[in-house]
């Protein structure tokens, strides 16, 4: 909405002031994330811009925190664990969550709100409480300090995201398409793979990405039920911040920002594709 031609001076002032305020808020949102990127190339172990950095002296910059990250076994183990755990927990939560969403979106589903409430609760219950419960129970089951335990825990924590995104995709889903497919002679399996899957796939993939990020970012639960063998990137960052805060953490953070840019781009593309497919938006 641009400024109308008939706007008075007060409105004009307000128009620009408002945009200025919004600009500041956007700055608040994004600046902290951007500021760590140059800081991660700092040549000295401080969390601030040095004089040499500000004058763009090449000596002020260095890749040594990245070298530290790539050569440090502690970090490399964490990277490996993070990917393994996030990968398998995403598979579990996406499969279970998608199937459940298909059921939940049917009109015949009884006690829908109630069931939905329970399925979403892992997202709502404070993490420390989930972590405490899982700590005792998973130790009892012999699942503590195992990758499997952490994978199951993360799968439980991330299913709500899959359920929510896939159900949202299914809201606009035309049930008559299934009937149409059946009248045209397709069996339920064919219908599922040829009609339902292509339509809900964007939702499933964004759900899976949400699930992946949830696991990839989770630190409270893994700290309680995992041991050093299961340490993940956020765990290593958490203890790094508490114990030996070095710019290596900023190097890791920068790499993670790049990862999230990639994820965000994927989700956005999928969302637009989904809207286009269902004719909800012209562009």
């Amino acid at each position: 909405m641009s400024l109308p031609a008939y706007a008075g001076p007060l409105e004009t002032t307000w128009y620009y002031l408002f945009r200025f305020i919004c600009g500041l808020i956007f700055f608040f949102l994004i600046a902290p994330i951007l500021v760590i990127i140059p800081l991660s190339f700092n040549a000295v172990p401080f969390f601030t811009f040095t004089e040499k950095m500000l004058t763009f002296d090449p000596e002020g910059y260095s890749l040594k925190w990245y070298r530290d990250f790539f050569s440090n076994l502690n970090w490399q183990g964490a990277v490996k664990n993070s990917f393994i755990i996030a990968f398998f927990s995403t598979i579990i939560s996406t499969t279970l969550g998608t199937i459940a969403a298909l059921g939940l979106s049917r009109a015949e589903m009884p006690a829908k709100t109630w069931v939905m409430g329970i399925l979403i609760s892992p997202m709502i219950v404070p993490l420390i409480i989930s972590a405490a419960g899982m700590f005792f129970f998973y130790t009892d089951m012999g699942l503590a300090s195992t990758h499997l335990g952490v994978i199951l825990a993360h799968a439980a924590l991330s299913t709500p995201f899959v359920v929510i995104t896939v159900t949202a995709t299914l809201v606009g889903f035309d049930q008559s398409l299934i009937r149409a497919s059946a009248t045209l002679g397709a069996n339920p399996t064919t219908t599922f793979f040829k009609v339902i899957v292509p339509l809900i796939l964007p939702g499933v993939i964004s759900g899976a990405l949400f699930a992946f990020v949830t696991s990839f970012d989770e630190v409270v639960v893994v700290k309680f039920i995992g041991s050093y063998e299961q340490r993940t990137i956020p765990w290593a960052m958490f203890s790094g911040i508490r114990e030996q805060i070095s710019p290596t953490i900023l190097a890791v953070a920068t790499l993670l920002v790049l990862l999230s840019v990639g994820m965000l781009a994927t989700v956005e593309l999928l969302r637009r594709r989904n809207e286009k497919l269902r004719g909800l938006s012209p562009g």
Partner: protein
């Protein structure tokens, strides 16, 4: 033929009445829907619900005392606590037997030391009392009363016996009392602790008001941004949306460490202020390890959770509403506050409750940037789980926090509907 159709119920091809057949089909469809949901439901129940419920049971579970002291329990229950006298020889004899048994079973779960630790939460001194006694109990000989008191003089003090008698119960309320800064006084009545020893109510209160403040600040910052996004052309607003979504997708740890880099004493903001001469080097601002640090970082982390629901509601408000109000003579301000804002209330409600729910359970950010004054109730729960090992108290605090969260969840359901929750 015509007669029969009007008088008898409709039937399907195979002769069953249509109503029955429809009902059957409906039941089948219902069952199919349930079957689809069942695997996840079972999974969540097993990996999430059961663990939490069983953890919460620890907040009342007190079996360890009577289980480890099975001989003493029935005898001690007959002792008259108000007599001012310690129990008689029979109780001491039973206790000696229990101590000997526990020494044999020590590595299973019958450790007298565990009972000592448990009772020490009620009254300071039990821990060493049980340890010393356990060490010497192998050599105890009758008369046991003398032997016990010789080993540890606290056995001659009725106040310890009083606590033991009370905590022989299988379920206790003392963890919940402790969680609200209360306990039993020397007469055995429930009472609040003296003001110098109140911690948890203050922390609950702090958790709530800080969450409220964070929610308010988020709303204040989110409202204009969401409004701007909703009125801009979709190309521009999609571009700006990235600025909201990128933080949303970025790891919490990344954002928290970014704030540490920015806010600490030798950090970016302080250095910038000093370098530009706006601040004296000696007076660098303290923005971290306190409430301010927690609030700034948490507002940043939670802001997208406020912007997104607000935006999705504002997007659906037709611009014609405002135009209509203006053409009816309303000033821009009146039109905005009287027409536009009431329409955004569902979005405000959704965002505010979501942010509030998330912030009362926050752990990581306060733990890293909160220092002492920015600690929230979650951090104390973690402390009792990891360090003090008072798991009953941790469970009681957790149960209270969970109840608060659940209440808010219900409100959220009322306002938005759980099945309307959207992400990104």
């Amino acid at each position: 033929m015509a007669n029969t159709t009007t008088n008898s119920p409709l039937v399907t091809v195979d002769g069953t009445p249509l109503k029955v057949s429809l009902g059957r089909a409906k039941r089948k469809a219902k069952l199919r829907a349930l079957l689809l949901v069942a695997p996840l439901f079972a999974f969540i129940l097993l990996t999430f619900f059961v663990p939490i419920i069983s953890m919460l049971l620890r907040s009342v579970d007190n079996e360890v005392v009577s289980y480890t002291l099975p001989n003493t329990a029935p005898l001690l229950s007959q002792w008259d606590a108000s007599s001012g006298e310690i129990p008689g020889e029979a109780v001491f004899k039973a206790l000696a037997a229990d101590f000997k048994e526990s020494a044999e079973d020590k590595y299973d779960d019958k450790s007298a030391g565990k009972v000592g630790r448990r009772l020490n939460y009620e009254l300071t001194g039990f821990s060493s009392m049980f340890r010393k006694t356990a060490r010497k109990s192998k050599k105890f000989e009758p008369p046991y009363k003398e032997a016990f008191i010789k080993a540890e003089k606290k056995w001659g003090d009725p106040k310890y016996w009083q606590v033991m008698q009370r905590e022989m119960r299988k379920a206790t309320d003392s963890y919940y009392l402790a969680a609200i800064d209360a306990g039993y006084d020397s007469e055995g009545n429930r009472a609040f602790n003296e003001p110098g020893k109140r911690v948890y109510l203050k922390l609950f209160w702090r958790t709530f008001w800080m969450s409220g403040l964070i929610t308010g600040l988020c709303l204040l910052l989110a409202y204009p941004v969401a409004y701007l996004l909703s009125i801009l052309k979709s190309r521009t607003s999609n571009m700006l949306m990235i600025l909201v979504l990128l933080p949303f997708w970025t790891s919490l740890l990344v954002r928290t460490s970014a704030w540490i880099a920015l806010l600490q004493k030798e950090g970016v903001i302080n250095s910038l202020l000093v370098a530009t001469g706006m601040l004296d080097d000696a007076n660098r601002l303290l923005m971290i390890h306190n409430k301010a640090g927690t609030i700034i970082a948490m507002v940043h982390v939670l802001l997208p959770f406020m912007i997104l629901p607000l935006y999705s509601v504002m997007k659906t408000i037709p611009p014609s509403y405002m135009r209509a109000a203006r053409s009816l003579g309303a000033t821009p301000f009146t039109a905005f506050t009287k027409v536009y804002m009431p329409n955004t209330i569902p979005g405000i409600g959704a965002g505010a409750i979501l942010v509030f729910i998330l912030s009362i359970g926050y752990y990581i950010t306060p733990a890293l940037v909160g220092g002492q004054s920015g600690t929230l109730i979650s951090n104390l729960i973690a402390y009792h789980l990891e360090s003090s090992l008072n798991w009953g108290l941790a469970a009681a605090l957790g149960a209270i926090l969970l109840a608060a969260t659940f209440a808010l969840y219900l409100v959220y359901d009322k306002i938005v509907g759980i099945d309307n929750m959207k992400l990104g």
